[in-house]
């Protein structure tokens, strides 16, 4: 059975740029899909197609069981959209914004009013409810935007980079809200540039680059595919780097990476904690003092690096 969000072979070109180059997605009901990729990878274009804002050149999209291309207005009754640019009217108060959105979702004026009050309370905006959104901080605007997307408690939600530009405290708060939503049964498609965010929130992850899905799976699957665990050592004395690299090379299952600047050596291994103990003993025997040592699993950064040959962050700067 197709999921609450289902897309097949989506293609969208802007001039010469193939923003979507045959994207397939499937998000089972009640789960979160993290759509991961650098700026310009096609994440926002995918969201815009699925939320009826953009017509694809070809392909098929079904949201909440409804064909997006054939019945866009029916789809709109089932979805909530929270974008990367807080979509609120600055000259309206928080309350007026939510009431307007409620009424445009075809709620009665009275229901929209009651729902607005409820959401303002929940999103800690009650005190600022009657101030214009212009006076809100970035975090408050983002909360108001998210509240607007939740006015009808839509079964399917789309969030396009919901935490971009937020400070860590607000980001964590937003993560909590998202987790609560999903616990309540909402299906969510979330785009992000933050690997950590996808790791934290998403059941499944789709990595896209240049309009194509280049990998999909759970966070664990992606990490396993990239390679197992690795030992990471920071030596105290730069003069010990060469010797320490030799030692680690002896235990390694792959190429040893050395960062001269941070005096950090990383090597893929297999053998877990027992192996780590052996490494420590060996380094100690050779009289190499270490500042830090650890066994770590690949991060999504490693995944991204091995999939695209470049780090997510680097690519981002290029395309800006």
């Amino acid at each position: 059975m197709p999921g609450a969000i289902h897309a097949e072979g989506l293609v969208k070109t802007f001039g010469d740029v193939r923003a979507l180059d045959g994207v397939d997605l499937d998000v089972p009901e009640g789960t979160v899909l993290g759509l991961l990729g650098p700026n310009g990878a096609g994440k926002t274009t995918a969201v815009r197609v699925l939320t009826t804002l953009l017509q694809p050149d070809s392909g098929k999209a079904v949201v909440a069981g409804i064909d997006v291309l054939k019945h866009p207005n029916e789809v709109r009754r089932q979805i909530g959209l929270s974008g990367q640019f807080a979509a609120v009217d600055e000259y309206l108060t928080g309350r007026e914004n939510l009431q307007m959105v409620g009424q445009l979702y075809q709620m009665s004026a009275r229901d929209a009013k009651a729902r607005a009050a409820e959401l303002l309370e929940r999103f800690n905006l009650a005190e600022a409810a009657d101030r214009t959104a212009k006076t809100y901080s970035g975090g408050m605007r983002r909360r108001l935007d998210l509240a607007a997307a939740l006015v009808v408690r839509p079964p399917v939600m789309f969030m396009d980079e919901p935490t971009t530009g937020l400070d860590p405290r607000n980001r964590l708060a937003l993560w909590e809200v998202i987790q609560d939503l999903v616990a309540g049964g909402t299906t969510l498609l979330l785009t992000t540039q933050y690997l950590e965010e996808a790791d934290h929130l998403a059941h499944d992850i789709c990595v896209i680059d240049h309009g194509k899905v280049i990998a999909r799976g759970t966070s664990d699957e992606l990490k396993a595919r990239t390679g197992g665990e690795r030992v990471e050592v920071v030596v105290h004395d730069r003069d010990h780097l060469v010797t320490a690299t030799e030692v680690l090379g002896g235990f390694g299952k792959g190429e040893t990476a050395v960062d001269n600047h941070t005096r950090r050596i990383t090597v893929p291994v297999s053998g877990g904690a027992k192996l780590l103990a052996e490494v420590i003993r060996e380094l100690d025997t050779r009289g190499i003092e270490i500042d830090d040592i650890g066994l770590r699993r690949p991060t999504l950064d490693d995944v991204f690096m091995s999939l695209t040959g470049h780090a997510a962050e680097e690519k981002e700067e290029e395309s800006q």
Partner: protein
Amino acid sequence: MTTVTDAVSTSAPRTSNPIVQSVRDSLVVARRNLIRMLRIPEVVIFGLVQPIMFVVLFSYVFGGSMNVGGSTSPALYREFLMAGIFAQTVTFATAGAGAGIADDMHKGLIDRFRSLPMARGAVLTGRTLADLVQTALTVVVLAIVAVLVGWRVHEGLPKALAAFGLLLLLGYAFSWIGALIGLSVRTPEAATSGGLIWLFPLTFISNAFVDSNQMTPWLRHIAEWNPFSATVLACRELFGNLPPGYQTPDVWPMQHPALASVLWSIVIILVFRTLAVRKYRSATA
């Protein structure tokens, strides 16, 4: 932030009648635009200054040298002029509607609107309705100023109100042209100038400020068929502001100016509303 415990998700309620929905959604959007106008009163105030300036400039600078219906009396010209200023003022709503819509189109809010299950023309209709309210307000203020400089109506209140009705209908029609311009340009600034530039030839090659009978023949033909001229002449008749020796040109829109004015406005609304709504739906902002 406390927990969101909406255990049951629900889709949006359905409004059965599309016309009811369209009217309702348009009014919701109009209300939003009116609230914005109240919170950014500069826009409304500047909108008032320009026509008042025109009244004063035309009355006192040009007044003495204008020949209308064979008379050069400044007092007669002031009466003659006013319908032209009124009509020009209502059509300047074009620029406001255009700038407002261009501004909306380049903010995230338009994505919100387009992702909501609302009537498809409501964002634009709501905007044009709000502009109509603003235009009506401007016309009231302008009428007061006009009375102060000596303008009077001579055909009674019902006819004067009918004239104002024609003016507002024309203004409403023109705000749809503005809407289309606003959807077609990249910035609100471009919409403002794009909304104004063509209004100058349109309002000047008409009977708004001068007696079109005195134009060279080819210009006179344009002026007589100009939608603008029909409304202006209709208003002059309804206000009783035509100078005594005025010769009504012998062409259909000038012989039946009120009917011509209504027809022109309806045609403009039908054509430009259709184009604007189509453009809005396909716009990718």
